[in-house]
Assembly symmetry: C2
């Protein structure tokens, strides 16, 4: 079976797709019966495309030429970002083309519009590469667990930040870790989208819509790692935890607790063993219990492998879009109950600690463990692990504690994710 495709964009992932089709087309056809033919490539910079060995004859700078080509079955959008990606996708769908994309931003923001258009025009939109690179998490949720009710999703979904946190655990500073990530090509020149947790947030929104068949809004509670301090990573380690930028999406009584940010995870949990640039998704299903999928979440060939699998699936008519039939309420993040890690920098004089424990007690926060780090200084760190407490109580207590004369620096608090 022949499948004619067009590529929009020949950046990192696009060049990976070209490379795989060049090297492994015969293998793909023997395995799947699908012969993928690259009919057109849209790229503003022809010299870039020609370096990949793409024939000038199939090159164009105008995406409309791709869309108006009646022979093309599938349009592969690999330019990323919101626009013109959205416009190209919508126009291509209206022209009856199937879509494959690796673009999490456009799917998170315009997914609803895109999938409605796809349903109306009876075409597929596949986006395996948008979350977790080559980890087949979209397929697992949509197909393998089609009969299961997912109860929770936990994800390490951003390689840049996971790499930085792994380096910091080894004692490297945040800025050196970020620099190393940039040198190795894991981090962008402007890393803010990654380190502020926005990329992670997009991805957990996409997975949650699929898993819960509900139109989860794009903007969820998101915290980054740029303000994380080394001592907290070290204290966490001593206490038996790792700090991970975790995407969390838990369904309880039809209320969804969804957020992305740094939390502490017990060191013996599988998710804590996911290091460096590796991504992982840990699912809890009613029938399947705990499952974890783990692999390269980024990079040219891993991501391009996911794109090519989406192309083959289109030939086999696998429907690759959301269906929304559930209405789910989002949990008020102030009402989240968890254990917390707190760190205060205290002036070492009698009564300092008593004031803090009083404020915690007044706010219904009870202490599981408290350690005053012995240091030969006037200001000493005090680390507290609480029992289960309400997020809003912690925030209120922290606000009050911050105002004490005996407290220097901004107090640190991190949720402990007990799974």
């Amino acid at each position: 079976m022949n499948l004619n495709i067009a590529l929009i964009g020949t950046g990192t992932i696009g060049s990976g797709v070209v490379e795989i089709l060049k090297n492994n087309s015969e293998l793909i056809e023997k395995r799947t019966g699908v012969s993928i033919i690259l009919k057109k490539v849209c790229e503003l910079d022809f010299s870039k495309a020609k370096k990949l060995g793409i024939d000038e004859e199939i090159l164009t700078k105008d995406y409309k030429e791709v869309i108006s080509d009646k022979d093309i079955d599938v349009v592969i959008e690999l330019i990323g970002g919101y626009e013109p990606a959205r416009t190209i996708i919508i126009e291509a769908i209206k022209a009856g083309k199937n879509i494959v994309t690796a673009n999490k931003a456009v799917i998170a923001r315009y997914g609803d519009e895109i999938f409605k258009a796809a349903a109306e025009n009876n075409v597929n939109v596949n986006f395996e590469a948008a979350v977790g690179g080559c980890i087949p998490i979209i397929k697992a949720i949509k197909e393998s667990y089609a009969s299961d009710k997912i109860k929770a999703i936990y994800g390490i979904l951003n390689g840049t930040t996971n790499f930085i946190l792994s380096m910091m655990e080894e004692g490297m500073s945040y800025s050196d870790s970020l620099k190393k990530a940039q040198e190795l090509g894991f981090a962008e020149a402007d890393p803010s989208f990654d380190v502020e947790g926005k990329d992670t947030a997009h991805k957990i929104v996409i997975l949650s819509r699929l898993a819960y068949n509900s139109m989860i809004p794009e903007n969820i509670e998101t915290t980054g790692i740029s303000e994380l301090k080394m001592p907290d990573i070290m204290y966490a380690k001593e206490l038996g935890y790792k700090i991970k930028l975790l995407a969390i999406s838990k369904l309880e009584n039809n209320e969804l607790d969804i957020r992305a940010g740094p939390v502490m995870v017990p060191i013996e949990h599988s998710i804590a063993s996911v290091n460096n640039e590796i991504n992982a998704v840990y699912l809890i299903g009613e029938q399947t219990k705990e499952t974890m999928l783990y692999g390269r979440g980024a990079g040219k060939l891993p991501t391009a492998t996911a794109v090519v699998s989406d192309i083959v699936d289109i030939a086999k008519r696998n429907k690759g879009y959301y269906t929304f039939f559930n209405e789910i309420k989002l949990k008020d993040q102030d009402e989240v109950m968890a254990r917390f890690y707190l760190k205060f920098m205290l002036i070492d004089k009698p009564g300092s600690l008593a004031k803090i424990t009083k404020i915690l007690g007044d706010n219904n926060i009870s202490i599981n463990a408290a350690v005053q780090k012995e240091e030969d200084k006037d200001v000493v760190p005090v680390v507290v692990i609480t029992h289960k407490s309400l997020n809003k109580n912690i925030k209120k207590a922290i606000e009050e504690i911050e105002k004490l004369d005996s407290v220097k620096e901004k107090p640190v608090y991190l949720m402990i994710e007990d799974f």
Copy 2:
């Protein structure tokens, strides 16, 4: 889209399928557009089937009644074992039925015959549940990595033995661990198929045929765990290793090193963190690098979830059988190079150790580390970690060492898998 199915066998997995269809049929249809209708159930013990709430009208004791029913699209074979499973599958295929099975034995032994018949009759045979329970490893290899060349597969594919090994690490004896596994329902009354590694061997053969598109023979080098001794598990732990019953299938220069048996794995490797009854598959692909899929490899609902996903896939026409177009030579297991763990029980007198090191040296085996466990006894254990050595040299040296008067008990040797 309606899909009429028939179930053969209502044991553990069959009852799980019935339960899922009863509880989640509406969910499955909303998500996938496929309405699964249970048309017939073949079971010798009607009372067992009726307890599951199956209507007597659709019950039969004669599988031929299922096969001759023109309305049935898919036959779900869940009786296990070689026969009559093979006969039922082949006859059903010839009658134009698609097949879903969870039966690794029949696929490992008769896969070639079954898939040839399926191709001739243009039907699908899906078997996701046969390997790794609800872990979507068949789908990952066949679909997600359709464009990638797999270089190695490492699997913990038998929950019973992984559970026993995990208990032994905690200090429980082999027989107590086995008893506990049986009490918890992880192990059969006759556990030999599991503990001797045969189940693991079947599964790695199935995965390898898919990954390498080659007709790997059913019988591969297989060792069990029934002769593993507690001290070796403890010595391994001290040295930074875990002993796992690992399925290994590595392709190098078109030669396949395939085996199933206990090996030592470095404790920091992800596969070492897979404990208790959990299964995992660790893949190395040319494009995707390292991927790991981890989850429940057995149990009623996890396995039934995989069966139901196979049923839905048939409605979507996902081809679920092997295509063989590669010829691969199997590696002579004597020629495998690895580091080894050796343990000897030595009579504690001058010159005992020297004799052993001489035999090792004469067989081209060099020593990386040797520890004589200090014990106040006449016979003391000596543990040796070798540098990379040839399997056949190790075997020959062990044979010679076993004959020494100063050596009591059978020496122990385990390969160290360095990935």
